[in-house]
Symmetry: D2
Subunit: 415 residues, 4 copies
């Protein structure tokens, strides 16, 4: 990092993570004015449910050259290369959060850098605010993959502080603004194939129950069908590969799990979590397919992982989740933990039967060609190759250190 | 441990953990015959639902002197001193198991040793088998508290291998055996105020769904009421102390949580877990009140624990759970972890509102005088005492090491 | 943190950590000019070897009111309340560094805040630069103890970038500057009773051996006496309390260990460590007494700590060291770990005999009334209370899970 | 593990780990008598310094068929595949022990199983006693690699309790016994290319200094040369590959490090460690080359590993060391940790200059093509690509959670 830092130079060509919505449209225009720079837009279909091709038209209408507009379907890469590694770890941040947003940002950031290399851009930009986690997930990825990149984070640079000012800027610069954007600010939300999140507004009082309109992907358990849905998930080496006997692509499989989970009221979460910047925030998360996936994965692991493997994974999971949540996807320690986790998944093959019912994911059965469960050994009625006298030695040797210690701590003899 | 080990001497006076059922009655008689020793029985009311005074009559009918029969109500001690410390840790073994059995055995073992000291007994005995975890939970506790104690574990000593032989022994020695004990062996079960477990029989094939009669404490979600139940739990320094504004003793509070949880289908678990002796076993666990308790505790922690506290607890939880599960309650490393955990609970005070509905425990709100949640800081629309430019420095300094590494790993410049 | 942040207001009364040297004298003067504020100086005797009373005269000569000059001997508090907790943990950052500087900054910061409360100051200031760790150790402590405090870090605020500019500022404002400060900048150094550090100049090439003048507290091993020095250290509950049978105050004991260590060439360290801000830096550290202390402490622990205690401490030590190194002394997770560590020290009482010789700290013997070492048990020739057949059961049960796994992994039978 | 366990059947063909010394010769003869079985001997040259071909003659003289005698030089495999992985982890058990013995047993066990498969043996045997760790290191490896193998551990089976009885047995069965074996029992020792250990006799009082004859591989620091020896070690991807510019095989390199370390009094260790069976034992260990190796490896890591990598390794090292020490080399969790560790070593390439002097291993310099040390960034006098104002944001954001907490914990405002 010799000489003058990129951060102090004027950006010439910027790859912007562009949704086509109000915020990133304003950002696009603001950068054109502020930096007089060439803009490249990147829009990914991550399963968020919007029409991504609309973003192409929007970009061109804002003066972006057609060859500078990139629109890609990344759904399979998202599931196979970002969600699946995290589910192999059974990762849940602060006990519950399945990290639908944290897994998606690094993928977008990686593609932005790849596109920057391809088109000769010197800068990248994103629309995340200065109080949240997403700025970290974007920028730590940018810097890890391209240490000399110039990063533009407009929300931390400009003086606009809220939606009203954005609308005013848009009006002033001839951007069309939908009527729905003009009223009170909506919930803040992020969506992709793994989840939908919802923050802000009335949710900001953590004592108050969420209103119904804060949930968008799942039905309430009370409104789910009165009869359960059964599903059988097949795993190969730690990843789900088939539902009810039908092999599917990663994105298709998760989409289908989302459908049946959402219909059965599965995967709602209402938590206060702690952002990397130190703030606590209350959020709602809907992860119907992911919730089923995690239960099924832990279940197939329960018969295919040895105790040494399973417990080591459990001990390291919180650290792994923290790294992913905080934006350290491309940090070497995340990769080291991933190597450890993936090593354990070689025998995690088999199938799990589940019953979904009004918010519940109920395990019904599990089976594997690699099962470590041994019915003959465990039975109460007969010995098999297990000599109960061995247990006496096992206990007495394990107790030895406690007995030595007990002599010091409990001076009085028994009788 | 000088001279001859106690283990090779004849026991003279034995304190037996005695339920009054078939197994421990046979054990009592067998020890009288085998060792010609004086027997002291200890029966604890742990909330298992049996009439403990019946055990007194049974013991006396088997020839135990009245002054050698100890019957005690330990429900409050169980909840306050064994369950509560574990729930402060949010402990779950192998992801899910709330350890209803592991918390109860050390309490019984401790009282056996205390009684042994009081009555001048040299030995203790229990009815756990040689394949399970409970032998460890009893005996590691015995040895830690009384290093020189003589331990008798009849299931590892005698030649009887199953129920039929026990019944034959009972018949041969004039013990009355209920008709229900004479047929096929039932499920193996353990119950106390925290949970009921169920293993064996058809459950031994982990692919097969449990039959309805394997569940005994909770209703199925499908059979629970169609309207939710709301409950408000108040915590002081990490422990629940009141429900819906009414202060209760630890045992009364858990009993009440059990009632409302059980009625709403909450707390069923069907897992394969790995015993300390290395076997995998499929078990059903019903922990209605405990399931509510854990969700509520995590929720009140989510606004009262700093990230540093919460994440450290999460990282150490699997090790703590493993120690408790394996029987190391009285090991010094469990006590060290408990000191760390308890230190974190000083500010964990406040209340949580929950909705129970057909198996779901749904968080509705949380509130605390010690809340670290700051609505002014987190709001999207206004700054408060948070300067978004600080985030730039935060990110750039955190990225510095990744950028240095990136120069080595990604040799090509961006443009 | 309502309303306007302190950070944007003009400081009125500032407590400065003041050594009396060039840097903090320039800071004092610069703050008087820049902020037109009242200055309070705080100078601590931490065993750095300077005459602290000279700082009093210097402060008064710079216009500080006598009642605003605080000079205190904190040597015993430094050793008893900051070094000792860290040595109970056997903490070493990145394998070797005994953290002489990280333990001292929080103590100074804490006293600054206490003085600020006493004199009604609104701000605190320190002389640490913007690239190092010490700014974090000062400021994280300030903010933890007084969340609303105004922090002044002149090295990050002014435009002066090196020694020459400081000297020019001093000359311009009539500060006397010693001749030795006018030449090439010296090593950067920090000293207290626990250590002396040395960075900068020729050391900045990590391939080059340090020159002799970079070491200041210890003799080179080659120049140490040809005959060893023997010393016996007595510990009570984890802390050293006597040398060669003579009880001493914490500071006196460490001073004496420093003398004999330094004379025998003990405690030199030459490492590259990673600062919290992400830079790697090469430093020399001389910790003669601390090096002896750590060896002695580990040695007395080796016979008084149970394996469960010792291994848990070892697993958590790197995290504890990282927290202390990074400046999180007053963070709740450091306090949680300390509670765990201190819990383990209750029985760490006894004595250790050491031989010091030309850089070596050689253990000769260890003894404790609480020893868990049992000569009768361990002897090769006789059994004691250890039945070797128990080992068979211990091994076979521990092997069970490996055998179950081996059936899956090694399909071929042996014969 | 169906049907009858191997452990209860008569062994027909046994592969014995055979040194040719008194103990294993008695074992060979005892098994011939006791089990009337065919014996296969396996003797490995691990650098222990004995003439391994003598073991061949001894075996044949005891009636073993020539085709049943296996003698192999495993020195390179020992260093490359067992020592090197452990040194990549910087593993030290209980703070100091470099595990010379634990790394060698699994290699011998693995070869015994391979030979058993090759010759059609059903059993394996070793000469480790029932109180030590080595029985675990042998047997856990046997069972992991061949779950159905029959294990014979004569020391736990026969009634002979000490050396005198072994000599009597040898005399009675016509085994020649050297005069040196007839007196008082010697120290118990284990040697290979990595270390020599020494236990027993006068060492059993941990307060008493070792006698000179307890050390066998190194000179005392006092007797080492008065002038230092300099050495330069080159690492490739975490492993040493050349000394002073000369490439060497793994065994040759470690041999050479042993020579120069031993001559300079490097690598003596006198500790009490805790065996897996729970006993504490005092032992002397001489690891001259290994001691240099570990210092050099940590030093090259200090400039090539990112903080995230280095700290994660440090946190996991104690668990890794415990697994290796306890005999879990072939357990899947050791392999998972190894995958994580090895992942971090990809860039650990470069060289380290050391000075060896009377027991000291002194770092003089380190250099790497992959260095993360950046002289321009770290310098005190000039900025480079580091904006000190970023540090303000870094600190303030890191402090945010502490300030929020401080408002709860420190209610009083500053002024």
């Amino acid at each position: 990092m010799d000489g003058k830092t990129m951060q102090d130079t004027r950006p010439k060509k910027v790859v912007l993570a562009f949704s086509g919505g109000l915020d990133t449209s304003v950002i696009l225009k603001w950068m054109q004015i502020k930096y007089d720079c060439e803009i490249v837009t990147f829009t990914a279909d991550l399963g968020q449910g919007d029409e991504v091709e609309a973003a192409r038209d929007k970009a061109i209408s804002l003066g972006v050259k057609p060859q500078n507009v990139f629109v890609e379907d990344l759904r399979n890469e998202l599931v196979a290369s970002y969600a699946a590694p995290v589910f192999r770890a059974n990762a849940a941040y602060e006990g519950y959060y399945l990290m639908g947003t944290p897994i998606a940002r690094p993928l977008v950031a990686k593609r932005q850098i790849e596109i920057a290399r391809a088109v000769g851009a010197d800068s990248v930009a994103h629309g995340a605010t200065g109080k949240g986690n997403d700025q970290l997930r974007f920028e730590l990825a940018y810097y890890a993959l391209a240490p000399e990149v110039r990063v533009i984070a407009p929300w931390r640079e400009w003086d606009m502080a809220g939606r009203a000012q954005l609308v005013a800027f848009a009006d002033a610069h001839g951007l069309s603004v939908g009527k729905d954007k003009r009223g009170a600010p909506p919930y803040s939300s992020d969506a992709n194939l793994l989840h939908v999140s919802c923050e802000g507004k009335a949710l900001e009082d953590p004592w108050i129950s969420p209103e119904d309109d804060a949930w968008s992907r799942t039905v309430a358990p009370e409104l789910a069908p009165d009869r359960p849905t059964w599903v059988e998930i097949h795993f190969e080496r730690g990843d789900p590969v088939a539902l009810d006997g039908v092999s599917m692509s990663p994105a298709a499989l998760l989409s289908r799990l989302n459908e049946i989970g959402a219909a059965n009221g599965v995967g709602r979460l209402d938590i206060v979590d702690t952002r990397y910047v130190g703030l606590k925030c209350r959020g709602l998360f809907e992860t119907p397919g992911g919730t089923i996936w995690q239960v099924a994965h832990r279940t197939i692991e329960s018969i295919t992982l040895d105790r040494g493997e399973a417990h080591l994974k459990d001990e390291l999971m919180p650290k792994y989740a923290e790294l992913v949540y905080n934006g350290y996807w491309f940090a070497p320690e995340r990769e080291m933990l991933q190597a450890l986790i993936d090593k354990s998944q070689e025998r995690v093959t088999g199938k799990v039967r589940l019953r979904l019912y009004k918010g519940n994911v109920i395990v019904e059965g599990r089976q594997s060609p690699n099962t470590l469960y041994d019915q003959d050994l465990v039975t109460f009625e007969d010995g098999g190759d297990y000599d109960q006298r061995d247990a006496t030695g096992f206990i007495r040797i394990n107790a030895l250190r406690l007995r030595l210690l007990g002599r010091i701590r409990n001076a009085l003899p028994l009788v």
